[in-house]
Every structure is written in structure tokens, then in C-alpha cells.
């Protein structure tokens, strides 16, 4: 399970920022490069549809299936990144 394929199987905070920007853009009053790891997505200006689009892009790029409730259960970037990495680990281990 070593090699370039496996090394891609980590979801980073930078991945999240990039995917948010690509899929939904960014609110001018929010600095995604600032200290936002523990800020709610809602406070960052992302409504449910933006999160749906973000989840769909993560699923495509990382070839995983996310739980329908993932954004309800994980409302901040830190929590989401951890949850997705946990999910990736299960995928790789399996």
C-alpha cells in the first residue's frame, strides 16, 4: 500500500480551502488563509448548497463516499478534515 497513490490519500486543510474556492468561491469578508480552523462554515459564508457542492467535489477527487450528514456533524474545517481523513483511512485499510 505504499507509493504515490497512497500519499494522495490524505485530505489537508489546503485541499479543503482549494475545493471551497473552486466550487463555491469565498466571501470578501472572510480570509480563508486566516485562523479559521474552528470557525463554523456558516460563519464563513457557506450555506447548505455550497457545502453540498464542496462535499461532492471532495468525493470525486478523493474517490470516497461521504455520509449524508457529514456537514451536519462536522461544522468546522478542523472537524471536517479529521472526519474525511478518518473516512479515507477506512477506505485504504479496506
Amino acid at each position: 500500500m505504499k507509493g504515490p497513490h497512497v500519499s494522495k490519500q490524505e485530505f489537508t486543510f489546503d485541499d479543503l480551502k482549494r475545493i471551497l474556492l473552486e466550487g463555491a468561491g469565498a466571501d470578501e469578508e472572510v480570509d480563508l488563509d486566516g485562523d479559521i480552523l474552528d470557525t463554523d462554515f456558516e460563519s464563513l459564508g457557506y450555506e447548505s448548497l455550497a457545502l453540498l457542492e464542496t462535499g461532492s467535489r471532495i468525493e470525486r477527487e478523493f474517490d470516497i463516499t461521504l455520509d449524508d450528514d457529514i456537514f451536519a456533524d462536522h461544522t468546522t474545517p478542523r472537524s471536517l478534515v479529521e472526519a474525511i481523513n478518518a473516512s479515507l483511512k477506512v477506505t485504504v485499510d479496506a
Binding site: G25, D27, L52, R60
Partner: protein, 405 residues
Amino acid sequence: MSARTLVTGIGVAAPSGLGVEDFWAATRIGKNAIGPVTRFDASSYPSRLAGEIHGFEPAEHLPGRLVPQTDRVTQLALVATDCAFEDAGLDPGDLHPCDMGVVTAAGSGGSEFGENELRKLWSQGPKHVSAYQSFAWFYAVNTGQIAVRNDLRGPTGVLVGDQAGGLDALAQARRRLRKGSRLIAAGGFDASICSLGWAAHLAAGDLSVSEVPERAYLPFDAAASGYVPGEGGALIILEDEEGAVARGARDAYAEFAGYGATLDPRPGSGREPGLRRAVLAALADAGCHPAEVDVVFADGAGVPRLDREEAEAITAVFGPLGVPVTAPKTTTGRIGAGGAPVDVVSAVLSMREGLIPPTTNVELSPAYDIDLVAVRPRTASVRTALVLARGRGGFNSAVVLRALD
């Protein structure tokens, strides 16, 4: 008697100019804005000319969150709305949100956005389709996004009637004002210069196949051979007079004085087309005698049969050579639901300057007994203007605008 409805702000996004200043500078002298299609590869299609808006960068005008979720037509509509509010000297936050509404017309919605997502669906699968496809393609999306961005929580609506829909939207706005709203943002937009939109234009017929921008769209000319599609539209801020005065609105452009709409009889019935009745209804609604009308902004289909019908309707109401007629849309092509609101902008600017913009490129056919303002603008005192619009399927709408005393 209802209070008067005033035009207090205008915003325009047209091939001839993004913003009122550029638009009028080009329109008043009839500067051609039709050219080869650049928004997609049209080389394999029989029609390859369009009126495109060049140099529009949505990110320069709109928030970063809005750009990925909007089609070009919605981006143009939002920018025109911002301009119209600014022109009206009004921040939407100045009024109660529930006292303001929005009514727009559209023919095809977010064609380009929809095309791109459909392409992803076919080539990559459903997981690749944007979540924003759920509304970005829809012809109601402009009304929705304008309402959300400007916090307009009063009445909203969407009209679909091809060109005629652009005037029907203004009339619906007036109805809402008469029912108690303070302000309605109203207008129409279309922008479907993409392969999906082009297929629809071609399937509907009447598209010019000329290769020469100056010879492709020639309403009322003996060489008329169809139309060229354009993109964009206009947003008009309409207010009830009492409220406009109370907020200290200055320099209102005109009164939205009259409106009439009819449907054509069944094709082949042999009965008279409905345009003349629409004109008479609008004049009656405005309490206006035909002799008071200083200019007619024609629909200008560019299709001989339709041009003849329109010329006959104008002559029937005003008499031979009875009123100056112009179709400045020869500079932009036909903008669908956006065409007539753009003409309304031209009409109120004609009043302000005392100048009727020309019907660029056209040499009037001797078959028509109308006083066409062709090639060169004409100075004139414009106190009352009539704007005509017809849509595929037999829609006829007419609006009377009157200068304020």
C-alpha cells in the same frame, strides 16, 4: 385614480455598452456592436454573428461567493441592478425590505451554465454536476438572485414571453406598486450565445445567415433576412410617485404611463394580428392620443412578414409617416427578454437629450409607409414614447412612457 408610476433609475448591460453612459454614447449615434461569435466556436453553424458584450469580468463587479453559482445572464442582471439602484440615488437598505420587490423577464435562463453542467453529466457522470445547476439554469433565477443580493422581500415574479416579456415585466411591476409596494426592480435579460442557446435559436428559425455585421439584421429594409441574437438587458427601478417624492428622489426619468398586451389570432385564421390592438390599449391606458406620441421604438423583427405586420399596425394607428419610428436594436441584435427594457432605457434617454437614436444600417423599404429614423439620429422634442415588443408565439406588448412636467 392610481398614483403615477415613475422610472427613477436605469441600469443596462448591452453589447453597445455596459452601463448607461457607454450604452447611450454608442446608441445615440448608432454604433454597430454586432460581430463574429467569440463566446463559442460557431464555425460549423450556418449563423455566425451575434451582439456580444465584450470585456465583462464578473469578478470585478460581484462577490466571490456569487460568481461560481451564477450564469453569465444572472451576472449581467445583478450588475445592471446595482447600476440602476445607484442611478436612482437609492441604497436598497434605505427602504423596508418588504416594501420592495423584483419582477424580471427571461427567455432562456442560464443557458451557458446549463450547457456546461449537462456536458459534465454526459461525459463524466452525475457526480460531476454542480449543485448550483439546481437553480443557475432556470429562467426565474435572475429575479431570485436580485432579490437575495439586494434584500428585496416584497412581491417577486418572472415573465416569459420572448421579447414581449420584457415589457410585461414592467407592467407587472406597476400592478404590484398599485397594490401597495413602494418600489419594484423590473426588467429583462437574456444571454444565450453558447452552443446550447444557438441550437435553440436555429431551431426556432429566422436567424440571419449573413456574414456581414452591417447587413445581417435589417428590419424594415427590403434586404431583411432574419435577425442576429444579442445578449444582455436592462433593469428599471419603478416607484410610486408619492413614495419617490417622499424620499426626495430627484430627476425621475419618466412616467410609466400606459401598457397594453394582446395575443395574435391562430395562424391561418386570416384575422388581423394583435399588435395594433396592443398599441391602442396602451394609448388608452395612458390617456394618450396618437398625435401626442413623439417616437415609436419598434420591435423590428427583421423578418419581412413580421416587419410588414408591424409597419401596418403603426400606420393604422398613426397614419402614413405619422410618427418617427426607430429600432436602435440594429446595433445590438435582438436580446430576447432584454430587448424591450433596453429600448425603454433608450426611450427615456431620448427624452432627456431630445434626440432619437437611429436604426443603424437600414435603408427603409419603399413597401412601408413609416417615418423611419434610419442611419442618422434625429433631434426632436420627445415627451411621449411608445415601445413595442413582440414575442414568438404571438405575444404583443406596448408601453407608453411620458416625460414628467
